[in-house]
Assembly symmetry: C2
C-alpha cells in the first residue's frame, strides 16, 4: 500500500505492507487524514516514533469480525489499551501504561491506504458529516476533554491562548459553555474566523491583563505556558495542551505564590465531538487551508510545517 513513513527522516513508500488486522480489530481504508502539530513534533523527534504517523482520519471499514460495521464510515480513538490493567478497569483506558497510540507510540498511523484499530475504538460518522469534517473529530474530542476535566460555568472569565488548529476549535467549543470567553492569538486573519461567530478575540500584546479564571494554553509554542501564567488570576487554572519536542525553561514561582492549578489535558471523548459536528455546533471546514493527495504527503507535511495553513488535509 501507499504510506508516508518516518524513520529518522520522512519518506513516501509505494509498497508498504498492508497491516494485518488482529482479532477484535477492523481493517479500515483511510479516506481522509489530517496533519496535527503532534505529527510535526514527531518528525522533529518527539516520542522517538518510527513508522507511519497520522492519527486524525476518517475511513471505511473493509474487514472486521463484526459484520455490522463492514462498509461503514468511521473515525477512531487513538489509544489502544490492554483492557485488563487497573487503569483500563477504572475507565482510564487512555492512560493504560501498556497502550500503543495510533501514529504516535508503537502503532502505525493513518497516513496510508490502510490502518487497523480495535473495534471498540471506532465511532460511526453520521451521514450529515463529511469525511473532511470527520477528520476533526479527534482534535475536537481533545478539546471536549477540557470541559470534562474542569467545571467552566456561565460568567467564568476564560481565555483560549493560541489561534492555531486547537485554539480555533477550543474557542468554538468553549463558547458553547456560556463563559465570558476571549481567544488571544497572534494572527488577525485566524481570529477573524471566530469573530464571525460572535466570539471575542484579542491580539497578543505585552500588556495583557491578569484577568482570567481559566486559561486554555493551545499555543503549540515553548513559551505559551509562561504567557498563560502571566494572565491567569491567583487561584486560577491553566489547562496545558501543548507538548513540545524538548524541555521548557520556565519560572514556576508564580504557580506556588499565586496557587495556580496547572492541569494537563490530552485525548478526549469522541461522542460529544461527533455530536457537535452533526448538530453544526462547530464549523471546522474554514480551518482547512489546503488538501494534498497521499502521494504528495511529504510536501503536505512540509507545507504544514511552514504554517502556511491552519489545517492541512490529505485525501487518501
Amino acid at each position: 500500500m501507499r504510506a508516508l513513513v518516518f524513520d529518522k527522516k520522512l519518506f513516501y513508500s509505494r509498497d508498504y505492507p498492508v497491516p494485518a488486522r488482529k482479532e477484535r480489530e477492523a481493517l479500515i481504508k483511510v479516506s481522509s487524514a489530517g496533519i496535527c502539530r503532534t505529527d510535526l513534533e514527531i518528525i522533529k523527534g518527539y516520542m522517538d516514533f518510527e513508522g507511519i504517523p497520522g492519527h486524525e482520519f476518517a475511513g471505511v471499514v473493509e474487514d472486521c469480525s463484526d459484520e455490522s460495521l463492514l462498509g461503514k464510515r468511521v473515525v477512531g480513538e487513538i489509544n489502544i489499551s490492554c483492557d485488563v490493567c487497573a487503569y483500563c478497569s477504572a475507565d482510564m483506558r487512555n492512560h493504560c501504561p501498556h497502550r500503543t497510540v495510533l501514529g504516535i507510540l508503537n502503532k502505525n498511523g493513518a497516513f496510508a491506504d490502510y490502518v487497523t484499530l480495535p473495534v471498540v475504538n471506532l465511532h460511526q460518522i453520521p451521514d450529515s458529516v463529511s469525511d473532511e469534517e470527520a477528520v476533526f473529530v479527534e482534535p475536537l474530542a481533545a478539546v471536549f476533554e477540557i470541559t470534562g476535566q474542569v467545571s467552566i460555568k456561565e460568567g467564568d472569565k476564560v481565555c483560549v491562548l493560541g489561534d492555531g488548529r486547537i485554539g480555533l476549535l477550543a474557542g468554538q467549543v468553549l463558547s458553547l459553555t456560556g463563559c465570558s470567553l476571549t481567544v488571544i492569538g497572534k494572527h488577525k486573519e485566524k481570529l477573524s474566523m471566530l469573530e464571525k461567530r460572535g466570539i471575542e478575540t484579542q491580539l497578543a500584546t505585552d500588556t495583557m491583563t491578569r484577568d482570567f479564571d481559566f486559561v486554555i494554553e493551545c499555543t503549540g509554542s515553548q513559551s505559551g505556558f509562561e504567557t498563560a501564567l502571566t494572565i491567569v488570576k491567583p487561584r486560577g487554572t491553566v489547562i496545558l495542551k501543548t507538548t513540545v519536542a524538548g524541555r521548557r525553561d520556565v519560572d514556576l514561582n508564580s504557580v506556588v505564590i499565586d496557587e495556580i492549578t496547572v492541569l494537563g489535558s490530552r485525548c478526549g471523548p469522541f461522542e460529544p465531538a461527533v455530536e457537535a459536528l452533526r448538530g453544526k455546533k462547530v464549523d471546522v471546514l474554514p480551518l482547512v487551508g489546503k488538501t494534498f493527495s497521499l502521494d504528495e504527503g511529504v510536501e503536505a507535511i512540509n507545507y504544514a510545517s511552514e504554517n502556511k495553513a491552519i489545517k492541512v488535509l490529505m485525501k487518501v
Copy 2:
C-alpha cells in the same frame, strides 16, 4: 533596636529604628524567630527583597489599640492585605494584589527586636505551647493549606517528597488524614524522626515507582518538581511547595500526556496549626538543630545555609 538587615548583603545592626505601629496594627516584641528556606532564597536575591527578613516568629504585644491584646503572646499571619479589593472581599486576603508580606515583600520582618502587624493577623498562643513551638505555626499553616486545597482521603497513596523542614512537618500533618503515606527523602537521620512516629519513609533512589495519587513536593530544590512528575500516577496531583531564586528547566510533556494536576500551595490557615500544636498532634521541637541569639544572626543564617540543622531558631 537590634535587627538583621539585608541590603544586597546581610548585616547585623544595633541601631535600626523601632517600627512605628499604624492604626489597627500591634507593636510586637519578638521573642523567638525561625529561619525558613525562603529567607535563604531571599539572601540569594529572591523577590528582590531589601530590609529585615524573617516571617516565622513568636512574640508579645507591647502596644496596640486593642487593650485586650496587651501583654499577650502571639504569632502572626504574614500577608498584610488591603481589605478592600475583590480578593480581600472574596476571602482571598493572602492573594490581595496590594499585599505586603512580612520579611518577604515591602514589609520589614521579624529578625529584630520589634515587628508590627495588623491586629487581624494575630493569633494568640495557648499557654501549653512554648515560644519555640509557636515559631512553627507559620510553616505548619502552610502545610495545612494542602489539606484545605485537595481532598486527601483514607487509603489515597500520598508521597511527601523531601525531608527538610516542610517535608517533616508535611509528613506529620498528612499522617493525620489516614492516607497511605510515604515520606521520601535523602537523609536517613531526618527520616528516622518520622519513623519514630510510625510514618513510613523511603530513601530517594533511581528506582522509585510511579505509584502515588498525590505527591507533595517539598524538596526545596530545582529538580524536585521533575522528580515528583516521575512518581505521580496518571491523573494524579503534584502539590508544588518549592519556590526557588531563578527559573526551572523541566520537561512538561508528562503533565499533558498523563493529565497531571500541578497545584501551587503557599500560606495557610493558622487555626489548625495552633490547634495541632496545642493538642500535641505534631512534634516540632526535634526539628530544632540549634538556637542562636539575634546578635549572632548572620552566623545563624550561614549555619542554616549550610544545611547543618533542619531548623535554626533565633532567640531575640
